[in-house]
């Protein structure tokens, strides 16, 4: 297909690198998730410190981690967040009913739709840095057992939102710290390595 192989040169945003765009996306997700949290807190009259326990399980941050590891850590955490969020949204709709679509529901949908985009972006970055896409998120230890008690359910949902908020913020910081040149070089190096291995 000739059309498929043709790419528009105009499409590339030369002014912003992929990590920067991913960072902007993470920032946007964090902003939207913060809004969602605020809406949920107002909706449920929760205080900020009502839940402060991590749900996502990833290796601890370390200065020793290289770019790929940092990306993998973020990517993994976001994948877990996605699982948790989908579960929370499904459970909330199941338990509390769909009801009228208000600002909270719209924002929740927005976050739910935005999160996969960030995962896609970090995945692309990771793919570019590692040259492989064989990354399977680990869901082990993930609290997918949704409480049946209404309060516990809401608290759990709240914790999920906070977890998404936290990891979007962490992703923003991590992606912003990524040296774009290095990523490009590594990506180029990876592509070259792949081409060489293909020839063999």
């Amino acid at each position: 297909m000739a059309g498929r192989s043709t790419r528009s040169i105009n499409g590339s945003d030369g002014s912003r690198t992929a990590p920067a765009r991913a960072a902007a996306l993470a920032d946007l997700l964090h902003y939207e998730c913060s809004t969602l949290l605020e809406l949920f807190r107002k909706k449920e009259n929760f205080t900020e410190d009502v839940a402060d326990r991590r749900m996502v399980s990833v290796p601890p941050p370390s200065s020793q981690l290289d770019t790929r590891d940092k990306l993998w850590r973020i990517h993994s955490a976001l994948l877990q967040c996605q699982k948790l969020l989908e579960k929370a949204v499904a459970k909330e709709e199941e338990e509390l009913g769909g009801g009228k679509k208000g600002e909270y529901e719209n924002k929740r949908k927005l976050v739910k739709e935005r999160l996969p985009l960030l995962i896609l972006s970090t995945g692309e970055l990771l793919k570019a840095a590692e040259g492989t896409t064989s990354l399977t998120p680990s869901v082990e230890g993930l609290e997918l057992n949704v409480p049946t008690n209404l309060f516990d359910l809401k608290l759990w949902v709240y914790r999920v939102y906070k977890e998404v908020n936290y990891w979007s913020k962490t992703a923003t910081n991590t992606l912003k710290d990524l040296p774009s040149v290095i990523v490009k070089e590594r990506a180029r190096t990876t592509r070259a390595r792949n081409r060489r291995s293909t020839r063999r």
Binding site: G3, R7, G14, R21, E113, L120
Partner: protein, 892 residues
């Protein structure tokens, strides 16, 4: 190719098996084909279930029979045809068999088969794919709308559908939307707009003849965003009179979309936008300071934004207009001071100083300061005089078109004056303007050969410069109560009026040379920016009364405001009945005398005023010419009177000259009775004689006289009654013979004075009367016809004579005429004045008859009845009363 042929044969076999069941003998493959217009199409017709015919008996028919050169015989039972598809319309392709046997003829329906060719075009690759996501409420719409340019044609039989594909780079998820041509746009819903993600978008055109895919559009999703314009506010700061600060809020959060901006601004009322260079604003900013602006000027500002990417993105619409006025600053130019001069008495002039705001006033002028220096004394007229300017803020934009009256002075023609003016706004004063007016005798020369032309919708004033160096010219125009002026460089010799001149308004254009600061003599011209038809024509009126043949017309000039152009002429129309006449008169005429009119005729008159643009008629006025001119009747009367008088005079003159002839004709000479033989009568002869008395009694004339006399008496002066009574008595005594001698010529009377003086002596106190008494009526003049019995008697009465009798000498002539006048006394009963017609008078007859009329009472009535005395009735009586003395005189 091989596989295609095999497939073709397989299809043919299958179709044949299907059709075999229906006992058809011909079958075409392929069935229901879609063919590409412009390509060659091959079909195969196969004979089945019969040996009656062979492939040689077959033929193909499109709209007409296809020539055999297009056939290819595959075998005895199959025939191919290849045709080029040219038209777009679907057609039937038929395979038919010649009638080669009776069976074929009887089963014709089994030896025909056809297929419908649906024709179309192969789709081509769509071009110019573009997509946009619009800003809805507070977020970017998740709907991405794309449009493309369809290439190539398509037919109704083979339509092309388009499918839009949107995929996020790195994802396998593809959003699609399809649309059937010829529509070339559609929308894809992506649930949420993928900010910061890269999108790959393409469109596929597809129909039954093929599929083509456009180039893939790979861009960041934000490149497709068109945001709403930002909300803008503008602030002015008093300390920066030449700048404004713009602040705005982006319509979308930076987290979604980082935007850059573009700014434009212009003074209020201007259509020329000034753009701030993009280099200054192509970054994410939310305020900007506009600089190098004009103080005290209202500016309109606008901002727009787009995604911060130099290679892509859509600019938003411009924000709404935001206006702000820059702060005021010191006026930096001089006020434009000027004068209005008018004569004021003898050797004096009135000068009004007027002033426009400085060209660069940098704010609203609050007041003017003026001081006047009379150069005769070389002293300034006191301190600065403050002239406040009462002008509202809303007038600011038009302040330059207005002027402010400053001061009016009266100046001798021998005086010179210098005026100094400054303009003050809220910040401070302007530089000083100066103007010098010389004494009239020393006014510098004017320009020469000034002309005003209307060119290209503008008034062009040209002039020839004076011989002296002119620093500048002032071109002034005044019309419709408005005055304005403009200044031109001293080297200019023409100028176009920049002010807004009104159409159809009369302007007086003046050019003043300015020598240094000294105002020179002006030159004036009249002009119209554009001429039109007068809005009003003069009303024509009569001046005085019309004559028989002339009428003087008057009219007033059209007011300047209603002329709307230079009057080229007036046309006076006058109409009587259906005939209309027109007379063209010059524009400076205000009266005209119509001549060649008809008398006693009604005329309608009106006047038409014309400019180069057209004419307008005035109202009608009617008048009627006179039947007679003044004095004409008087002239006729006088003429006739004079003529009559002339005739009378001529008649009188003729009478005077021909009196003898007239006398002879009308008063023929009566023979003097004194000359007759009867004149030897004696006065002493006794009056009373029996014979006369008897004769008298026997005559009827006496009674007739009495009747007449009685009647006359009553009608005459009764004062004389006693006398008359005496007379009557005496007449009685005289037996009616006392007819007045005045009635007859004294010479005819026996007592005529021709008796001589002796007679007068003897009859000093008595007058003897003679009387001729006819014995009967008319006796005729033939003495022989009847015996004459008349009596001539002489009166012895002593009654004094009447005046007429006393002056008988003078009365001779009159009495000779009046004789006839007295006759009515005899014929009063006739009472007919017509009877006195002189035409009835027959002097010849009288002459022949020689009748002398005697009337005894005539002496009493001679003055009271001076009427005509000739009548037909009279004649017999006269004849009877006078008889020629044929019978001789018989003494009494």
């Amino acid at each position: 190719m091989v596989s295609a042929a095999v497939l073709h044969l397989c299809v043919l076999a299958w179709v044949a098996s299907v059709l075999a069941a229906d006992d058809y003998h011909l079958v075409i493959a392929p069935q229901s084909p879609v063919v590409q217009i412009g390509s060659n199409f091959t079909a195969t017709c196969m004979i089945i279930n019969t040996t009656e015919v062979t492939a040689d008996d077959l033929y193909w028919k499109f709209s007409e029979i296809i020539p055999k050169e297009h056939y290819i015989k595959i075998n005895t039972s199959a025939l191919n045809v290849t045709v080029t598809i040219r038209s777009e319309k679907s057609e039937w392709l038929l395979c038919k068999c010649k009638t080669v046997s009776q069976y074929v003829a009887l089963n014709e329906g089994k030896f025909i088969h056809g297929i419908l060719l649906r024709k179309g075009y192969r789709p081509e690759k769509p071009k110019n794919l573009s997509c946009i996501a619009v800003h809805e409420s507070e977020k970017i719409s998740s709907n991405i709308r794309c449009q493309w340019e369809a290439v190539g044609n398509q037919t109704e039989a083979v339509p092309t559908s388009y499918t839009l594909f949107v995929r996020q780079t790195g994802s396998d998820k593809v959003y699609t939307a399809s649309i059937l041509g010829p529509v070339n746009s559609t929308t894809v819903d992506m649930n949420v707009f993928p900010h910061h993600m890269e999108l790959e978008i393409w469109v596929v055109a597809q129909n039954e003849l093929g599929k083509e895919e456009s180039e893939h559009l790979i861009k960041l999703a934000n490149c497709f965003v068109k945001t709403k314009p930002p909300s803008v506010t503008v602030i002015s700061e008093a300390v920066f009179p030449t700048s404004l600060v713009m602040n705005w809020t982006s319509s979308i959060d930076k987290l979604y979309l980082e935007t850059i901006y573009e700014i434009r601004y212009c003074p209020l009322g201007s259509q020329m936008w000034i753009y701030v260079p993009l280099a200054d604003t192509s970054r994410y900013i939310q305020s900007f300071r506009l600089q190098n602006l004009t103080p005290d000027t209202v500016y309109v500002t606008q901002v727009r934004c787009k995604y911060n990417n130099k290679n892509c993105g859509y600019w938003s619409d411009w924000s709404r207009n935001v206006t702000e006025r820059t702060p005021e600053d010191l006026p930096t130019s001089k006020p434009d001071v000027w004068i209005i001069t008018s004569a004021e008495g003898i050797n004096k002039r009135q000068i009004e100083f007027i002033c426009k705001d400085p060209e660069v006033s940098n704010g609203r002028i609050r007041r003017f300061n003026i001081t006047i220096e009379k150069q005769k004394y070389r002293i300034r007229n006191g301190t600065w005089e403050i002239i406040p300017v009462n002008r509202s803020l809303t007038d600011g934009s038009s302040s330059k078109k207005q002027f402010t009256p400053l001061k009016t002075i009266r100046l001798d023609d021998e005086e010179s004056v210098t005026v100094y003016v400054t303009a003050i706004n809220s910040v401070g004063a302007s530089p000083q303007a100066k103007l010098i007016i010389y004494r009239k005798a020393r006014e510098p020369p004017a320009v020469e050969k000034m002309e005003v032309q209307f060119l290209d919708g503008q008034l062009l004033i040209s002039w020839k410069s004076p011989n002296r160096t002119v620093s500048e010219y002032v071109v002034e125009w005044f019309g419709d109560g408005e005055r304005n002026w403009q200044r031109e460089n001293g080297k200019a010799n023409c100028s176009t009026i920049k002010g807004d001149l009104k159409r159809f308004v009369h302007y007086r254009i003046s050019v003043y040379p300015i020598y240094g600061k000294v105002v020179g003599k002006p030159v004036h011209e009249q002009a119209y920016a554009e001429q039109g038809v007068p809005s009003q024509a003069p009303t024509v009126n009569l001046s005085g009364d019309p004559g028989c043949y002339t009428a003087k017309l008057e009219w007033d000039e059209i007011p300047l405001i209603k002329r709307r152009g230079f009057i080229t002429n007036y046309t006076i129309y006058y109409r009587s009945g259906t005939e209309t006449h027109g007379i063209i008169v010059p524009p400076n005429t205000t009266s005209y005398t119509l001549t060649s009119l008809s008398r006693n005729t009604k005329y309608d008159i009106w006047i038409k005023a014309s400019t180069i643009r057209g004419s307008v008629n005035g109202s009608n006025h009617s008048f009627t010419t006179l039947k007679y001119a003044p004095g004409e009747i008087e002239g006729i009367v006088v003429g006739v009177s004079l003529g009559f008088l002339f005739v009378v005079l001529m008649t009188m003159l003729l009478c005077f000259c021909k009196k003898d002839v007239i006398k002879d004709n009308f008063w023929p000479q009566i023979p003097n009775p004194g000359d007759s033989t009867i004149g030897n009568w004696s006065p002493d002869y006794p009056l009373k004689a029996e014979a006369p008395r008897e004769n008298c009694l026997s005559g009827i004339s006496v009674l007739n006289v009495d009747v007449c006399d009685a009647k006359c008496v009553f009608e005459e002066d009764k004062a004389s009654l006693p006398l008359k009574k005496d007379k009557y008595l005496s007449e009685e005594h005289s037996s009616g013979i006392g007819g007045s001698s005045c009635m007859s010529s004294p010479r005819q009377s026996v007592s005529d004075s021709d008796e001589g003086g002796d007679m007068a002596d003897t009859t000093a106190s008595t007058i003897q009367y003679s009387s001729v008494v006819a014995s009967s009526g008319y006796k005729g003049q033939n003495p022989s016809s009847l015996p004459q019995q008349s009596i001539f008697s002489r009166s012895e009465s002593t009654q004094p004579l009447l005046d007429c009798e006393e002056n008988h000498d003078t009365m001779v002539q009159e009495g000779s005429r009046q004789c006839f006048l007295r006759q009515p006394c005899f014929n009063h009963n006739a009472g007919n004045e017509n009877a006195t017609d002189s035409n009835d008078f027959n002097p010849l007859e009288m002459e022949q008859q020689e009748v002398l009329d005697f009337c005894p009472l005539e002496e009493d009535t001679e003055h009271t009845a001076p009427t005509d005395c000739q009548s037909d009735d009279w004649i017999p009586a006269t004849v009877s009363s006078y008889m020629p003395q044929l019978g001789g005189y018989r003494p009494q």
